[in-house]
């Protein structure tokens, strides 16, 4: 019979059907109305007969459904509380509150070293710019890897690129934050992430240019000038926030070394080495380069040796 009436006949209720969680949400409202009626019904039945309720089956079924209903409610409440606590992206919202003009200004500022190091410089704790720069670096790296026919034995091109860039950004930021904590520098984690992220702007420019124009001397010029400028900026900002000569030296040395070496690594490990670059370097002792597909670990040693020789020759 269709349940078309709001008055529920207790005797016709289906007691033996098990309570199912899927029905709980819908039956919850009806349950409330039923409870009141059945409470009256049971009270009445209990008065009439001593040990035996009139609707024994009705009592068990109703109890079971009540318990299931309560469990459903508790579970739902817990799940929604956990969800709103952990999956709340509003925690990150303040770090993305920027205007395009601000982003552009900060990008240009990241190449200009500050002069005033006796007064703590302001660092904007913003994550949009750094995140976009890391993704841009990934895209440029992919382009470089593809054009140099780099072969990755274990893993994929995309995985390597993303792992390298994000690993550098997050890992070096954490390491520098740890050092800053040791050296008593006034900087928070978000500010460190932001500073290092904007420092990648120099890397992006350098790699974008030198992956397309293959001159080693051009790369070295860019490495020194562009990389050096962004490093100087980061170093100056950090120095302005640290007290004490030893601490300043430690922090700046670590940051400068890691930043410049990362650019060097990105260029040589993933870039096609062109035949005849020696025309710019003019060395009689240099072994000829070859355009071969190569494994990454093997080439790093060769790269280090060659770089050392090349630097020695230019000096």
């Amino acid at each position: 019979q269709g349940g078309g009436s709001a008055v529920i006949d207790m005797e016709n209720m289906d007691d033996t059907s098990g309570s199912s969680f899927e029905d709980m949400g819908e039956m919850h409202q009806r349950m409330k109305e039923e409870e009141e009626e059945e409470a009256e019904g049971e009270a009445g039945a209990g008065e009439e007969e001593d040990g035996e309720f009139l609707g024994m089956k009705g009592l068990r079924g109703q109890l079971g459904r009540q318990v299931a209903d309560q469990m459903w409610q508790v579970g739902k409440r817990q799940a929604s509380r956990a969800f709103s606590l952990y999956a709340n992206i509003d925690i990150l919202r303040p770090y993305f509150d920027v205007e395009p003009v601000q982003v552009r200004a900060r990008l240009l500022e990241s190449m200009i070293p500050v002069k005033m190091i006796n007064f703590p410089q302001k660092i904007a704790g913003e994550l949009y710019g750094p995140l976009m720069l890391v993704f841009t670096l990934v895209a440029i790296l992919l382009h470089g890897m593809k054009t140099s026919d780099t072969i990755i034995r274990e893993g994929t091109l995309m995985g390597t690129a993303i792992g390298t860039c994000f690993g550098y950004w997050l890992g070096v930021s954490s390491f520098m934050y740890f050092l800053a904590y040791l050296c008593n520098a006034q900087i928070t984690m978000v500010q460190m992430l932001s500073l290092l992220g904007y420092g990648l702007f120099g890397h992006c420019i350098t790699l974008f240019v030198t992956y397309n124009i293959h001159f080693h001397s051009l790369f070295y010029i860019f490495w020194l000038v562009v990389g050096g400028l962004s490093t100087l900026r980061m170093v100056a900002v950090l120095v302005s926030r640290t007290v004490g000569h030893t601490q300043r030296l430690i922090l700046c040395g670590a940051l400068a070394a890691l930043h410049m070496l990362f650019l060097l690594y990105l260029h040589f490990a993933y870039h096609k080495v062109v035949e005849g670059i020696l025309d710019t370097l003019e060395g009689p002792n240099m072994p000829p380069f070859q355009r071969v597909a190569r494994d990454i670990p093997v080439v790093s040693n060769a790269v280090l040796n060659t770089t050392a020789k090349a630097i020695a020759l230019t000096l």
Binding site: G4, S5, A6, E99, A139
Partner: protein, 217 residues
């Protein structure tokens, strides 16, 4: 209220009526009434919805049909077909083929999720799945570009074919970006549109790059 002091029901008006109120029946059969229709109807309805959205992508106008009834069938089909076509294209190595199926799949969905989170964090009014739907559907021009590239590569693999592929992929990349911008940028505050457009540009750029550098074995 003096006028209501003597309200009373006179004896000769019977108070009667129906206590039972007809409530809309919630029997399961009527709630899921689409369960009884033939399978062909269900499939055709979904296919028509997907087809309509494809048309909206190819001729982007400011309509809200893509946003209102979002569905993820179209993006899934496009993603799977693009990943299948991109699979295993590489120069000569046995170990590292081109992007594998799983790689393309993960890039597209992970990239779409990142862009959606970014636009939500920048204060967008669009919901998570609506944004995923739009970004997925706007991969359609790039899938068409992939088809064209494969056909061109069947003919030959020289400089001319590279230039043709470059032009085709570039045009489709621009079309994808414009189409998705037309749908997504409206949900942002007006001065932050550039901040949302840039990741979309980067996302479709990476997909275009994968298509352009595809060389069949």
């Amino acid at each position: 209220f003096p006028g209501l002091a003597d309200v009373s029901i006179s004896q000769d008006i019977p108070v009667e009526g129906e206590i039972t109120v007809p409530v809309g029946s919630h029997s399961p059969d009527e709630d899921y009434s689409t369960l009884d229709e033939p399978v062909k109807d269900t499939i055709m309805r979904d296919l028509k919805a997907v087809g309509k959205k494809f048309v909206h992508v190819m001729y982007p106008r400011k309509s809200s049909a893509l946003l209102r009834d979002w569905d993820l069938w179209g993006p899934l089909v496009l993603c799977v077909s693009l990943a299948l076509m991109l699979q295993g294209g590489s120069a000569d190595s046995k170990d590292d083929g081109g992007p594998q199926f799983a790689e393309v799949f993960v890039i597209i969905w992970f990239g779409a999720v990142v862009i959606t989170l970014n636009s939500k964090l920048l204060g967008g009014t669009i919901s998570f799945f609506q944004s995923l739907c739009v970004l997925g559907y706007c991969v359609l021009p790039l899938t068409v570009a992939m088809l064209v590239c494969r056909l061109v590569l069947l003919v030959g693999a020289g400089t001319v074919s590279f230039i043709i592929r470059l032009i085709v992929v570039g045009a489709m990349f621009g079309w994808s970006t414009l189409a998705s911008t037309a749908f997504l940028a409206d949900s942002q505050p007006p001065n932050r549109k550039a901040l949302v457009v840039y990741p979309i540009f980067l996302f479709y750029f990476v997909i275009s790059w994968m298509i352009l550098t595809f060389t069949p074995q």
